[in-house]
């Protein structure tokens, strides 16, 4: 019986529900030490002296001189040191590592760091250090703008956002067989593997990375585990003992990556009838102190900056700059939530300027199959921007409510958006991911490095494999993501785990079926021993991308969605309460509808936090509210009822028609909510739209 499209029990459900699943802090090894990181307390400066005025017996101490390989976090660039040598570039930068058997002894150790402070830069607009810049050009914007009679301009800002996975970053490094094994809470075992290779200077086969059960990531465990894993490994190698390094919430919030703050400027030409003529867009992102993933965050942000709209003349100038704050990095949506927030609030303002219904204005301009995006990509038959818009307006009773709420404390607003699945541009070709299937006593075993981080990877992959092989779901097992025994299926990011990795697994299953004939794989295993099929990613036919000009097919395909937010304002406290939310999202095919709805609901809740509550207060380059008391994320009581509608317009690029689903849900809530606030007569162009900001706007508007 086919299982794709059904809500089979999660592969990890029993263990997680009964509490037997082991997270990294549940693990212990004989002789294990605990570790602590000594960090900078200033945003920029030079280290003059490091003193350890305590009896060092029983302590293992590591600084940059203990790094056998290169003192660099290997990622896109190697500019970020694992441990500061002399130059401090942000608060909470790691300088010295300590390990001890006793946690209390660790806490007691005092390390004195004497620094010469230097002037720091916190405002990205003042920064001259460009980490990446790029331009996307379609048509002739200047000429087109010169011809249009209506031009609308605006500037939109978004703040940092903390991923706030429930389990903080943590690893255990174990010296083993002349090399090192790292167990950790992470999204990308092979990223960590590469980072360790470079930091330790070890050959690949002496490094092993094993993903333990992981309590959420949201991008926050894409690049940071490379840092913490290398730290634990250095201590383990020096002490010759297993070393556990698990952050507490404060340290995790203070030191690890956040969503890039952004400032986006729009200048848009439209005809009086509402046709988009030209879009001139400037994107600035604050990358923090080091490059990390900023170039690719910027690139996804820029590609999504013109939204799901057709326009012949588009210019997007984007740059990411450095400031003396902890590096910003991957977070669900990866640049697209920032730029689509700006665009969708701007679109609302254009409709307002034209005196046009906001849904009608979007309908006029939405991409249809055959139209081209800003990069010149021709969207295919699975482009359903119009359908999701229409359905969302209908389901939410948008037009009637817009009239009914007018002049009350209630408002309704919508946002139309899209999200490219998989790595940007030529990313997937460069990655060349591999996945494998092996016959087993039970049936087949999936061999991938893709991480289950709560989103359902194991379950969804097993469904795809079960149906592709025509065997029961229960006969599919998944190997532990262990770099010594699974192929590199690429990082668990970019809404690629279903569409891209699932697609490779489907091809593995088809080939395995061809090889074993009609036999059940378990039967074949009994008769012939193990059979393993490994496949590599193959770029779809007809996909072209030019990294130099940013022209071409930025993604194999896109998912499409429309969110409608209804809010209520408290006139005494200026608090905005979302009261109902409609999310219509076309993700190609819901392999597991409950998991998909979970992604949409969770992403929406996280987007509501981004829109209204979540403010990282930066003081002198440090997060001043690095506690859950003062960094407010929505509770269940802050989350409205949600009407989630899953639309399935299949894409021929993904298994069973599936596209990406993980990230898109966080692109829409912020603009939908801010547009609902606009319906109340309040001009908000910055998120989070805290009561303090609403109060200011109310003062101006009244």
């Amino acid at each position: 019986m086919p299982v794709v499209g059904t809500n089979v029990p999660r592969k990890d459900a029993a263990e997680k529900v009964t509490g037997s699943a082991k997270y990294v802090d549940d693990l212990a090894f004989p002789g294990m030490l605990h570790a602590r990181t000594i960090r900078s307390t200033i945003a920029r400066g030079r280290i003059r002296d490091v003193r350890l005025p305590f009896d060092r017996a029983g302590y293992t101490v590591v600084d940059y001189r203990d790094i056998p390989g290169r003192n660099a976090v290997a990622l896109i660039e190697d500019d970020q040191p694992l441990l500061v040598e002399r130059e401090i570039r942000h608060v909470a930068e790691p300088i010295v590592l300590l390990a001890h058997q006793d946690r209390d002894a660790l806490l007691r150790a005092r390390v004195e760091i004497e620094c010469e402070p230097l002037e720091a830069i916190f405002d990205p607009q003042q920064s001259v250090q460009v980490l990446k810049d790029l331009r996307i050009v379609k048509g002739d914007v200047d000429a087109a703008l010169a011809r249009t009679d209506v031009i609308v301009e605006g500037e939109y800002r978004t703040g940092h956002q903390e991923q706030l996975y429930i389990e903080p970053n943590g690893v255990i490094a174990v010296p083993e067989n002349g090399g090192i094994t790292v167990y950790g809470s992470l999204q990308c075992p092979f990223y960590v593997h590469k980072a360790l290779r470079i930091a330790l200077g070890f050959p690949a086969d002496r490094i092993r990375v094993v993903q333990t059960e992981t309590g959420g990531g949201f991008g926050g465990k894409e690049e940071y585990p490379s840092v913490i894993a290398a730290h634990a490994a250095l201590l383990a190698l020096k002490s010759k003992r297993p070393v556990k390094l698990v952050y507490d919430r404060l340290e995790d919030m203070l030191a690890t990556t956040k969503r890039h703050p952004s400032i986006v400027r729009h200048r848009t030409g439209v005809t009086r009838d509402g046709d988009l003529v030209a879009m001139d867009i400037d994107v600035l992102m604050d990358g923090g102190a080091y490059v990390t993933l900023s170039p690719v965050v910027l690139s996804r942000g820029a590609i999504h900056a013109a939204g799901p709209y057709r326009c012949d003349h588009v210019r997007i100038a984007a740059r990411a700059v450095a400031t003396n704050t902890p590096p910003n990095g991957a977070f669900r949506g990866f640049g697209a939530p920032q730029t689509q927030f700006a665009l969708e609030v701007h679109m609302e303002r254009i409709a307002e300027t034209l005196g046009m219904d906001p849904a009608r204005f979007r309908e006029l301009n939405a991409l249809r199959p055959g139209d081209t995006t800003a990069t010149g990509q021709r969207v295919e038959a699975d482009c359903s921007a119009l359908q999701v818009l229409e359905q969302a307006a209908q389901r939410s009773d948008f037009h009637a409510k817009r009239e009914r709420y007018a002049g009350t404390n209630r408002g309704i607003g919508l946002a139309l958006f899209f999200h490219g699945a998989g790595f940007t541009g030529s990313g997937e070709v460069t990655l060349a991911s591999r996945a494998a299937l092996a016959t087993s006593e039970r049936g087949v075993r999936i061999l991938v490095g893709s991480a289950e981080i709560g989103q359902g990877t194991r379950t969804m992959h097993a469904q795809i494999v079960a149906d592709s092989l025509g065997i029961p779901y229960d006969d599919v097992e998944t190997a532990l993501p262990d770099t010594s025994s699974v192929p590199d299926s690429g990082p668990t990011v970019a809404s690629r785990t279903c569409m891209v990795v699932g697609g490779i697994l489907q091809r593995c299953a088809e080939e395995l079926r061809a090889r074993i004939g009609d036999l059940h794989p378990a039967e074949h295993f009994r008769r012939h021993g193990p059979t393993v099929v490994t496949k590599q990613y193959e770029p779809p036919h007809g996909i072209r991308w030019d990294d130099d000009t940013y022209r071409g097919d930025a993604y194999a395909t896109y998912a499409w969605a429309c969110d409608v937010a209804e809010v209520e304002m408290d006139p005494d406290t200026y608090e905005i309460r979302p009261i109902h939310f409609t999310a219509v999202q076309d993700i190609g095919k819901a392999i597991h509808p409950t998991l998909v709805a979970g992604q949409i609901e969770g992403g929406t809740a996280q987007g509501i936090g981004y829109a209204l509550l979540e403010e990282v207060v930066m003081r002198d380059g440090a997060m001043a509210n690095a506690q859950m008391t003062n960094y407010l994320v929505p509770t269940t009581l802050d989350t409205p009822t949600m009407d989630v509608v899953i639309v399935e317009t299949p894409s021929h690029h993904g298994p069973f028609g599936a596209k990406g689903v993980g990230e898109m849900p966080i692109d829409g809530p912020a603009p939908a909510i801010v547009n609902a606030i606009r319906h109340l007569g309040l001009d908000i162009r910055q998120i989070p739209a805290t009561p303090e900001r609403i109060a200011e706007a109310a003062c101006v508007s009244v």
């Binding site: 209390d104 003062n630 509770t635």
Partner: protein, 274 residues
Amino acid sequence: MRTAAASLDLVRPRSVDDALRSIADDPSLAPIAGCTDVFVGLNAGTFAGTRFLDLWPLEELREIGIRNGAISIGALATHTAIQESPAVVSRVPILAAACREIGGAQIQNRGTLGGNVANGSPAGDTLPVLAVAEAVVVLRSATQERRIPFTSFFTGYRQTVRRPDELIVAFELPPLDQVQWFRKVGTRAAQAISKVVMAVVGGERPRVAVGSVAPTVIRCTRTEAALAGGATFDEASRIVESEVQPIDDLRSTADYRRRVCGNLLRRFGTETQR
């Protein structure tokens, strides 16, 4: 930085008298009740004490009852117990309302009224209620008992008149016949620390108390006098805006808090004066 757990000591008394003797002998002992504030302080390394006196087993400090016409609430009464007390619900519903908005269910099950007051945070949600109810704080040491008007209990930011050898044993709330009103503003619907928290009592002698707008909870005496003298709520709300002394901090701004204070008082007016 985190306090090392192995460095902590706990003394468990068998009775209130036993507890009072313990802190008389060793005033460095910090009393702990539900520990919901203390744990946060230990985790952040901001709580100075390392020796603790565990009040939690002292049942006699949990009692809620009527004594000489006043409600007496034991210091160890939890926020949940207070919400469930018929005496509180019928006589001081705004105290039950304040307790209902503290943290979430788990915190309400552990956190106590005594802890909320002794902790002395200007954002403590029950404090404005106790201030407008003109509660009396009952302090007891091994040698004496003192009754301090709630409005004289705090002497500064997290400073109280409690001496190190004293425990808060109870609060006494005189009868309240006038209309009463409470509102917490915390932005998040649960688990939120107040940006502004206000309690008001109407009638002949109006009383207005606000939390999170000064180093301690304050009674707004100028506003009260204006209301008693027949000022309109518009006028009174302008006075309250000038009377509070909020600051910009991690959680909010002075401007916002001031404006919201005015709005809340106006809302009290429209909701109760018809």
